[in-house]
Protein backbone atom coordinates (compact mmCIF):
# COMPACT_ATOMS: atom_id res chain seq x y z
CA UNK A 1 0.00 0.00 0.00
CA UNK A 2 2.97 2.29 0.50
CA UNK A 3 3.62 2.10 -3.24
CA UNK A 4 0.03 3.17 -3.93
CA UNK A 5 0.33 6.10 -1.53
CA UNK A 6 3.61 7.19 -3.12
CA UNK A 7 2.33 6.78 -6.69
CA UNK A 8 -0.75 8.89 -5.97
CA UNK A 9 1.34 11.56 -4.27
CA UNK A 10 3.87 11.60 -7.13
CA UNK A 11 1.19 11.79 -9.83
CA UNK A 12 -0.59 14.68 -8.09
CA UNK A 13 2.71 16.51 -7.61
CA UNK A 14 3.78 16.07 -11.24
CA UNK A 15 0.36 17.01 -12.58
CA UNK A 16 0.34 20.10 -10.38
CA UNK A 17 3.78 21.12 -11.52
CA UNK A 18 3.15 20.66 -15.23
CA UNK A 19 -0.33 22.18 -15.28
CA UNK A 20 -0.58 25.34 -17.34
CA UNK A 21 -3.30 26.79 -15.17
CA UNK A 22 -1.58 26.22 -11.84
CA UNK A 23 1.95 27.17 -12.83
CA UNK A 24 3.67 29.67 -15.08
CA UNK A 25 6.58 28.98 -17.40
CA UNK A 26 9.99 29.35 -15.82
CA UNK A 27 10.95 30.96 -12.55
CA UNK A 28 8.44 33.01 -10.61
CA UNK A 29 5.58 32.16 -8.33
CA UNK A 30 5.99 28.42 -8.59
CA UNK A 31 6.20 25.66 -6.08
CA UNK A 32 8.17 22.44 -6.30
CA UNK A 33 5.45 19.99 -5.24
CA UNK A 34 7.84 17.09 -5.80
CA UNK A 35 10.18 18.55 -3.20
CA UNK A 36 7.32 18.85 -0.70
CA UNK A 37 6.51 15.18 -1.29
CA UNK A 38 10.14 14.32 -0.57
CA UNK A 39 10.05 16.43 2.61
CA UNK A 40 6.90 14.64 3.79
CA UNK A 41 8.30 11.15 3.22
CA UNK A 42 11.64 12.11 4.78
CA UNK A 43 9.95 13.46 7.89
CA UNK A 44 7.28 10.85 8.43
CA UNK A 45 8.79 7.63 7.11
CA UNK A 46 11.68 5.63 8.42
CA UNK A 47 14.31 3.19 7.19
CA UNK A 48 15.61 3.59 3.61
CA UNK A 49 12.31 4.65 2.07
CA UNK A 50 12.89 8.44 2.10
CA UNK A 51 16.08 8.11 0.07
CA UNK A 52 14.45 5.83 -2.50
CA UNK A 53 11.44 8.16 -2.67
CA UNK A 54 13.77 11.13 -3.19
CA UNK A 55 15.62 9.40 -6.01
CA UNK A 56 12.50 8.18 -7.80
CA UNK A 57 10.69 11.53 -7.46
CA UNK A 58 13.70 13.36 -8.89
CA UNK A 59 14.08 10.84 -11.69
CA UNK A 60 10.43 11.16 -12.75
CA UNK A 61 10.69 14.93 -12.57
CA UNK A 62 13.80 14.77 -14.76
CA UNK A 63 12.02 12.58 -17.29
CA UNK A 64 9.26 15.17 -17.69
CA UNK A 65 11.65 18.09 -17.65
CA UNK A 66 13.85 19.38 -20.46
CA UNK A 67 16.82 19.31 -18.11
CA UNK A 68 19.35 16.49 -18.07
CA UNK A 69 18.32 13.19 -16.54
CA UNK A 70 19.76 12.70 -13.07
CA UNK A 71 19.93 16.35 -12.00
CA UNK A 72 16.80 16.32 -9.84
CA UNK A 73 17.35 12.65 -8.91
CA UNK A 74 20.66 13.57 -7.31
CA UNK A 75 19.50 16.74 -5.59
CA UNK A 76 16.36 15.12 -4.23
CA UNK A 77 18.22 12.03 -2.96
CA UNK A 78 20.61 14.34 -1.15
CA UNK A 79 17.69 16.37 0.22
CA UNK A 80 15.84 13.27 1.45
CA UNK A 81 18.96 11.93 3.13
CA UNK A 82 19.76 15.24 4.85
CA UNK A 83 16.21 15.88 6.08
CA UNK A 84 15.71 12.29 7.22
CA UNK A 85 19.03 12.20 9.08
CA UNK A 86 18.52 15.52 10.84
CA UNK A 87 14.87 15.02 11.84
CA UNK A 88 15.48 11.92 13.96
CA UNK A 89 15.13 13.62 17.32
CA UNK A 90 12.69 16.30 16.35
CA UNK A 91 8.96 16.57 17.02
CA UNK A 92 8.00 16.44 13.35
CA UNK A 93 4.31 17.11 13.92
CA UNK A 94 5.16 20.65 14.91
CA UNK A 95 4.49 23.10 12.07
CA UNK A 96 7.64 25.03 12.99
CA UNK A 97 9.72 21.88 12.54
CA UNK A 98 8.07 21.25 9.16
CA UNK A 99 8.86 24.82 8.10
CA UNK A 100 12.48 24.50 9.20
CA UNK A 101 13.01 21.24 7.36
CA UNK A 102 11.28 22.57 4.25
CA UNK A 103 13.60 25.58 4.24
CA UNK A 104 16.56 23.26 4.70
CA UNK A 105 15.32 20.98 1.90
CA UNK A 106 15.02 23.91 -0.54
CA UNK A 107 18.57 25.03 0.21
CA UNK A 108 20.04 21.50 -0.07
CA UNK A 109 18.11 20.84 -3.30
CA UNK A 110 19.39 24.09 -4.81
CA UNK A 111 22.98 23.46 -3.72
CA UNK A 112 22.86 19.90 -5.09
CA UNK A 113 21.66 21.20 -8.45
CA UNK A 114 24.27 23.93 -8.61
CA UNK A 115 27.08 21.52 -7.81
CA UNK A 116 26.00 19.11 -10.56
CA UNK A 117 25.59 21.99 -13.01
CA UNK A 118 29.09 23.21 -12.26
CA UNK A 119 30.60 19.69 -12.47
CA UNK A 120 28.96 19.00 -15.83
CA UNK A 121 29.60 22.55 -17.09
CA UNK A 122 25.92 23.20 -17.67
CA UNK A 123 24.69 26.80 -17.98
CA UNK A 124 23.93 28.16 -14.54
CA UNK A 125 21.92 31.21 -13.55
CA UNK A 126 22.74 34.72 -12.51
CA UNK A 127 23.00 34.97 -8.69
CA UNK A 128 20.15 37.53 -8.76
CA UNK A 129 17.77 34.98 -10.30
CA UNK A 130 18.90 32.22 -7.94
CA UNK A 131 18.27 34.36 -4.86
CA UNK A 132 14.87 35.66 -5.98
CA UNK A 133 13.69 32.17 -6.98
CA UNK A 134 14.94 30.78 -3.67
CA UNK A 135 13.04 33.40 -1.68
CA UNK A 136 9.81 32.99 -3.68
CA UNK A 137 9.93 29.20 -3.56
CA UNK A 138 10.67 29.18 0.16
CA UNK A 139 7.77 31.47 0.99
CA UNK A 140 5.22 29.50 -1.06
CA UNK A 141 6.54 26.14 0.16
CA UNK A 142 6.34 27.23 3.79
CA UNK A 143 2.70 28.09 3.30
CA UNK A 144 1.94 24.80 1.59
CA UNK A 145 4.00 22.24 3.54
CA UNK A 146 1.61 21.84 6.52
CA UNK A 147 -1.26 21.29 4.06
CA UNK A 148 0.74 18.76 2.03
CA UNK A 149 1.76 16.85 5.18
CA UNK A 150 -1.81 16.83 6.53
CA UNK A 151 -3.20 15.82 3.15
CA UNK A 152 -0.78 12.96 2.70
CA UNK A 153 -1.30 11.76 6.26
CA UNK A 154 -5.04 11.73 5.64
CA UNK A 155 -4.47 9.85 2.39
CA UNK A 156 -2.26 7.32 4.19
CA UNK A 157 -4.97 6.89 6.81
CA UNK A 158 -7.58 6.47 4.07
CA UNK A 159 -5.47 3.86 2.34
CA UNK A 160 -4.73 2.25 5.71
CA UNK A 161 -1.01 2.51 5.24
CA UNK A 162 0.78 2.13 8.55
CA UNK A 163 4.10 3.81 9.07
CA UNK A 164 6.44 0.92 9.77
CA UNK A 165 9.17 2.85 11.45
CA UNK A 166 8.96 6.31 12.87
CA UNK A 167 11.96 8.48 13.56
CA UNK A 168 13.09 8.27 17.17
CA UNK A 169 11.34 10.55 19.61
CA UNK A 170 8.23 11.07 17.50
CA UNK A 171 4.67 10.08 18.05
CA UNK A 172 1.76 9.51 15.71
Amino acid sequence: MFAVLYTIALFIALLGQTNILLSTVGAGLRVDFALLIVVYFSLFWGSSRPVIVGFLTGLFQDALSSEVLGLNALSKTLTAFTVHTLCRNVQIHSVVAQWLFTGLAIVVDMLGRLIVMIIFQLNTFEPRIIVSTLVQQTLISLCLVPLVCRGLQALAKGLRVRQEKLPEGTTV
Binding site: V25, S47, F55, L59, A63, V68, L69, G70, A73, L74
Partner: protein, 270 residues
Protein backbone atom coordinates in the same frame (compact mmCIF):
# COMPACT_ATOMS: atom_id res chain seq x y z
CA UNK B 1 26.81 -5.71 13.96
CA UNK B 2 23.17 -5.61 12.92
CA UNK B 3 22.69 -2.16 14.50
CA UNK B 4 25.77 -0.96 12.68
CA UNK B 5 24.51 -2.25 9.34
CA UNK B 6 21.09 -0.62 9.99
CA UNK B 7 22.86 2.63 10.68
CA UNK B 8 25.01 2.52 7.57
CA UNK B 9 22.30 1.22 5.26
CA UNK B 10 20.69 4.61 4.41
CA UNK B 11 24.14 6.17 3.90
CA UNK B 12 25.28 3.38 1.58
CA UNK B 13 21.98 3.47 -0.28
CA UNK B 14 22.14 7.26 -0.65
CA UNK B 15 25.66 7.03 -2.05
CA UNK B 16 24.62 4.34 -4.53
CA UNK B 17 21.61 6.38 -5.69
CA UNK B 18 23.69 9.55 -6.01
CA UNK B 19 26.19 7.61 -8.11
CA UNK B 20 23.36 6.25 -10.24
CA UNK B 21 22.03 9.78 -10.76
CA UNK B 22 25.51 10.91 -11.79
CA UNK B 23 25.72 8.03 -14.26
CA UNK B 24 22.36 9.10 -15.75
CA UNK B 25 23.58 12.69 -16.08
CA UNK B 26 26.84 11.57 -17.67
CA UNK B 27 25.00 9.32 -20.11
CA UNK B 28 22.79 12.13 -21.29
CA UNK B 29 25.32 14.95 -21.37
CA UNK B 30 28.28 13.08 -22.78
CA UNK B 31 27.07 10.03 -24.68
CA UNK B 32 23.55 10.49 -26.00
CA UNK B 33 21.61 13.68 -26.65
CA UNK B 34 18.46 11.99 -27.91
CA UNK B 35 15.31 11.44 -25.86
CA UNK B 36 15.67 8.33 -23.71
CA UNK B 37 13.05 5.58 -23.66
CA UNK B 38 12.32 6.27 -19.99
CA UNK B 39 11.64 9.95 -20.74
CA UNK B 40 9.29 9.01 -23.59
CA UNK B 41 7.50 6.58 -21.30
CA UNK B 42 6.95 9.12 -18.51
CA UNK B 43 5.82 11.83 -20.97
CA UNK B 44 3.39 9.38 -22.55
CA UNK B 45 2.04 8.32 -19.14
CA UNK B 46 1.58 11.71 -17.47
CA UNK B 47 0.62 13.98 -20.35
CA UNK B 48 -2.63 12.27 -21.46
CA UNK B 49 -3.98 12.78 -17.93
CA UNK B 50 -2.81 16.38 -17.96
CA UNK B 51 -4.46 16.89 -21.34
CA UNK B 52 -7.75 15.47 -20.05
CA UNK B 53 -7.68 17.79 -17.02
CA UNK B 54 -6.88 20.77 -19.27
CA UNK B 55 -9.72 19.89 -21.64
CA UNK B 56 -12.17 19.63 -18.75
CA UNK B 57 -11.12 22.97 -17.31
CA UNK B 58 -11.12 24.59 -20.76
CA UNK B 59 -14.61 23.17 -21.38
CA UNK B 60 -16.01 24.72 -18.20
CA UNK B 61 -14.18 27.96 -18.89
CA UNK B 62 -15.34 28.22 -22.52
CA UNK B 63 -18.93 27.47 -21.47
CA UNK B 64 -18.84 30.35 -19.01
CA UNK B 65 -17.00 32.67 -21.38
CA UNK B 66 -19.46 31.78 -24.13
CA UNK B 67 -22.28 33.02 -21.96
CA UNK B 68 -20.45 36.25 -21.10
CA UNK B 69 -19.47 36.74 -24.74
CA UNK B 70 -23.08 36.52 -25.89
CA UNK B 71 -23.76 39.76 -24.05
CA UNK B 72 -21.21 41.65 -26.14
CA UNK B 73 -21.50 39.72 -29.38
CA UNK B 74 -23.20 42.36 -31.54
CA UNK B 75 -20.68 45.11 -30.92
CA UNK B 76 -17.85 42.63 -31.31
CA UNK B 77 -19.29 41.39 -34.59
CA UNK B 78 -19.41 44.89 -36.09
CA UNK B 79 -15.87 45.65 -34.95
CA UNK B 80 -14.56 42.36 -36.38
CA UNK B 81 -16.25 43.01 -39.74
CA UNK B 82 -14.51 46.38 -39.99
CA UNK B 83 -11.23 44.79 -38.97
CA UNK B 84 -11.68 41.99 -41.53
CA UNK B 85 -12.23 44.56 -44.29
CA UNK B 86 -9.06 46.39 -43.31
CA UNK B 87 -7.11 43.12 -43.15
CA UNK B 88 -8.45 42.04 -46.52
CA UNK B 89 -6.94 45.17 -48.05
CA UNK B 90 -3.65 44.50 -46.29
CA UNK B 91 -3.65 40.86 -47.42
CA UNK B 92 -4.14 41.92 -51.00
CA UNK B 93 -1.14 44.23 -50.77
CA UNK B 94 0.99 41.45 -49.23
CA UNK B 95 -0.04 39.00 -51.95
CA UNK B 96 1.03 41.53 -54.52
CA UNK B 97 4.34 41.99 -52.74
CA UNK B 98 4.86 38.20 -52.57
CA UNK B 99 4.20 37.79 -56.27
CA UNK B 100 6.55 40.63 -57.01
CA UNK B 101 9.22 39.05 -54.81
CA UNK B 102 8.81 35.69 -56.56
CA UNK B 103 9.17 37.33 -59.93
CA UNK B 104 12.28 39.17 -58.82
CA UNK B 105 13.75 35.98 -57.34
CA UNK B 106 13.24 34.16 -60.59
CA UNK B 107 14.68 37.11 -62.39
CA UNK B 108 17.77 36.98 -60.23
CA UNK B 109 17.95 33.22 -60.75
CA UNK B 110 17.78 32.56 -57.02
CA UNK B 111 16.66 29.34 -55.50
CA UNK B 112 12.96 29.45 -54.69
CA UNK B 113 12.49 29.78 -50.96
CA UNK B 114 11.31 26.50 -49.52
CA UNK B 115 8.76 27.20 -46.80
CA UNK B 116 8.71 24.73 -43.93
CA UNK B 117 5.65 22.55 -43.40
CA UNK B 118 3.75 23.82 -40.34
CA UNK B 119 2.17 21.45 -37.82
CA UNK B 120 -0.27 23.01 -35.36
CA UNK B 121 0.25 21.85 -31.78
CA UNK B 122 -1.44 22.72 -28.52
CA UNK B 123 0.43 23.44 -25.31
CA UNK B 124 -0.68 20.81 -22.79
CA UNK B 125 1.84 21.28 -20.03
CA UNK B 126 4.85 23.15 -18.81
CA UNK B 127 8.26 21.99 -17.67
CA UNK B 128 8.04 20.85 -14.03
CA UNK B 129 11.34 22.51 -13.23
CA UNK B 130 11.17 26.14 -12.24
CA UNK B 131 14.70 26.54 -13.56
CA UNK B 132 13.69 25.62 -17.10
CA UNK B 133 11.57 27.64 -19.52
CA UNK B 134 9.97 24.97 -21.65
CA UNK B 135 6.49 23.77 -22.57
CA UNK B 136 5.07 20.40 -23.60
CA UNK B 137 2.98 20.20 -26.79
CA UNK B 138 0.60 17.47 -27.94
CA UNK B 139 2.42 16.48 -31.14
CA UNK B 140 5.38 14.13 -31.35
CA UNK B 141 7.38 11.82 -33.56
CA UNK B 142 4.09 10.27 -34.71
CA UNK B 143 3.38 13.63 -36.41
CA UNK B 144 6.86 13.79 -38.01
CA UNK B 145 8.35 15.96 -35.30
CA UNK B 146 11.97 15.45 -34.38
CA UNK B 147 14.58 17.13 -32.24
CA UNK B 148 15.73 20.68 -33.12
CA UNK B 149 12.80 22.00 -35.12
CA UNK B 150 11.75 25.65 -34.88
CA UNK B 151 8.47 26.44 -33.09
CA UNK B 152 6.65 29.73 -33.71
CA UNK B 153 3.44 31.51 -32.79
CA UNK B 154 1.56 34.09 -34.86
CA UNK B 155 3.58 36.73 -32.98
CA UNK B 156 7.06 35.36 -33.55
CA UNK B 157 9.63 32.72 -32.66
CA UNK B 158 8.86 30.64 -29.56
CA UNK B 159 11.66 28.07 -29.41
CA UNK B 160 12.75 24.65 -30.63
CA UNK B 161 11.92 21.03 -29.88
CA UNK B 162 14.36 19.32 -27.52
CA UNK B 163 12.67 16.07 -26.51
CA UNK B 164 10.27 14.11 -28.69
CA UNK B 165 8.02 11.26 -27.53
CA UNK B 166 5.54 9.54 -29.91
CA UNK B 167 2.65 11.91 -29.12
CA UNK B 168 4.29 14.71 -27.14
CA UNK B 169 7.27 16.98 -27.49
CA UNK B 170 9.10 19.38 -25.21
CA UNK B 171 9.75 22.84 -26.63
CA UNK B 172 12.64 24.83 -25.18
CA UNK B 173 11.64 28.51 -25.23
CA UNK B 174 14.01 31.18 -26.50
CA UNK B 175 14.07 32.75 -23.03
CA UNK B 176 15.60 29.61 -21.48
CA UNK B 177 19.26 30.00 -20.53
CA UNK B 178 20.17 26.99 -22.76
CA UNK B 179 18.68 28.54 -25.89
CA UNK B 180 20.78 30.33 -28.53
CA UNK B 181 19.56 31.71 -31.88
CA UNK B 182 21.78 33.28 -34.52
CA UNK B 183 20.14 36.61 -35.23
CA UNK B 184 20.22 39.82 -37.26
CA UNK B 185 19.17 43.35 -36.46
CA UNK B 186 16.61 43.92 -39.23
CA UNK B 187 17.46 47.59 -39.80
CA UNK B 188 21.26 47.40 -39.91
CA UNK B 189 21.82 43.66 -40.58
CA UNK B 190 24.21 43.58 -37.61
CA UNK B 191 24.77 40.01 -36.47
CA UNK B 192 24.58 38.55 -32.98
CA UNK B 193 23.32 35.61 -30.95
CA UNK B 194 20.07 35.78 -28.99
CA UNK B 195 20.55 33.91 -25.73
CA UNK B 196 17.87 33.21 -23.13
CA UNK B 197 18.15 35.24 -19.96
CA UNK B 198 15.24 33.71 -18.02
CA UNK B 199 12.40 35.76 -16.59
CA UNK B 200 10.91 36.09 -20.10
CA UNK B 201 13.80 38.12 -21.47
CA UNK B 202 16.60 37.46 -23.96
CA UNK B 203 19.98 38.99 -24.54
CA UNK B 204 21.59 39.78 -27.88
CA UNK B 205 25.25 38.94 -27.50
CA UNK B 206 28.34 39.54 -29.62
CA UNK B 207 27.05 42.64 -31.45
CA UNK B 208 30.11 44.58 -32.51
CA UNK B 209 30.68 47.76 -30.53
CA UNK B 210 30.81 49.78 -33.79
CA UNK B 211 27.41 48.57 -35.00
CA UNK B 212 24.46 50.92 -34.80
CA UNK B 213 21.75 49.41 -32.58
CA UNK B 214 18.90 51.25 -30.89
CA UNK B 215 15.98 50.60 -28.57
CA UNK B 216 13.01 49.51 -30.68
CA UNK B 217 15.09 47.71 -33.34
CA UNK B 218 13.58 44.46 -34.60
CA UNK B 219 15.59 41.25 -34.23
CA UNK B 220 15.08 38.40 -36.70
CA UNK B 221 16.64 34.95 -37.12
CA UNK B 222 19.56 34.82 -39.53
CA UNK B 223 18.93 31.28 -40.80
CA UNK B 224 22.35 30.03 -39.74
CA UNK B 225 22.52 26.87 -37.67
CA UNK B 226 19.95 24.84 -39.61
CA UNK B 227 17.34 24.97 -36.84
CA UNK B 228 15.57 28.29 -37.29
CA UNK B 229 14.58 29.42 -40.81
CA UNK B 230 15.72 32.87 -41.88
CA UNK B 231 13.56 35.92 -41.16
CA UNK B 232 11.54 34.71 -38.16
CA UNK B 233 10.68 37.57 -35.84
CA UNK B 234 12.45 37.09 -32.51
CA UNK B 235 11.72 40.30 -30.66
CA UNK B 236 12.46 43.96 -30.05
CA UNK B 237 15.44 45.65 -28.43
CA UNK B 238 14.39 47.08 -25.07
CA UNK B 239 17.73 48.32 -23.77
CA UNK B 240 21.24 48.93 -25.06
CA UNK B 241 24.14 49.45 -22.68
CA UNK B 242 27.27 50.96 -24.11
CA UNK B 243 30.17 50.39 -21.80
CA UNK B 244 33.38 52.38 -22.02
CA UNK B 245 35.31 49.11 -22.37
CA UNK B 246 34.73 45.75 -24.09
CA UNK B 247 34.14 44.68 -27.67
CA UNK B 248 30.39 44.17 -27.71
CA UNK B 249 27.14 45.95 -26.91
CA UNK B 250 24.98 44.70 -24.04
CA UNK B 251 21.51 44.37 -25.56
CA UNK B 252 18.29 43.14 -23.93
CA UNK B 253 15.57 41.77 -26.19
CA UNK B 254 11.89 41.37 -25.41
CA UNK B 255 10.54 38.32 -27.29
CA UNK B 256 7.76 39.14 -29.77
CA UNK B 257 5.76 36.06 -28.78
CA UNK B 258 4.02 36.14 -25.41
CA UNK B 259 5.75 33.08 -24.01
CA UNK B 260 3.89 33.18 -20.70
CA UNK B 261 0.55 32.66 -22.42
CA UNK B 262 1.31 30.09 -25.09
CA UNK B 263 -1.71 28.06 -26.14
CA UNK B 264 -1.21 27.00 -29.75
CA UNK B 265 2.07 26.91 -31.63
CA UNK B 266 3.27 26.03 -35.12
CA UNK B 267 6.09 23.53 -35.46
CA UNK B 268 7.95 24.29 -38.69
CA UNK B 269 9.04 20.94 -40.12
CA UNK B 270 11.73 21.62 -42.74
Amino acid sequence: MRILSERWKPIALSLCLILLALVCTTLQTRLTSSTLFFEKLVLSAVMPLQETIDNLVQGVRSFWQGYIDLLHIRGENLRLRQEADALQGKLHRYEEALLQQQRLRELLDLRAQVLPYPVVAEVVGIDPSQWAEAVIVNKGSFHNLRKDIAVVTHQGLAGRTVEVAPHYATVLLITDRRSAVDALVQRTRARGIVVGKSRRLCELRYVDFHEDIRVGDTIISSGLGEVYPKGLLIGTVVSVHQKSYGLFHEVEVQPAADLAKLEEVLVLIP
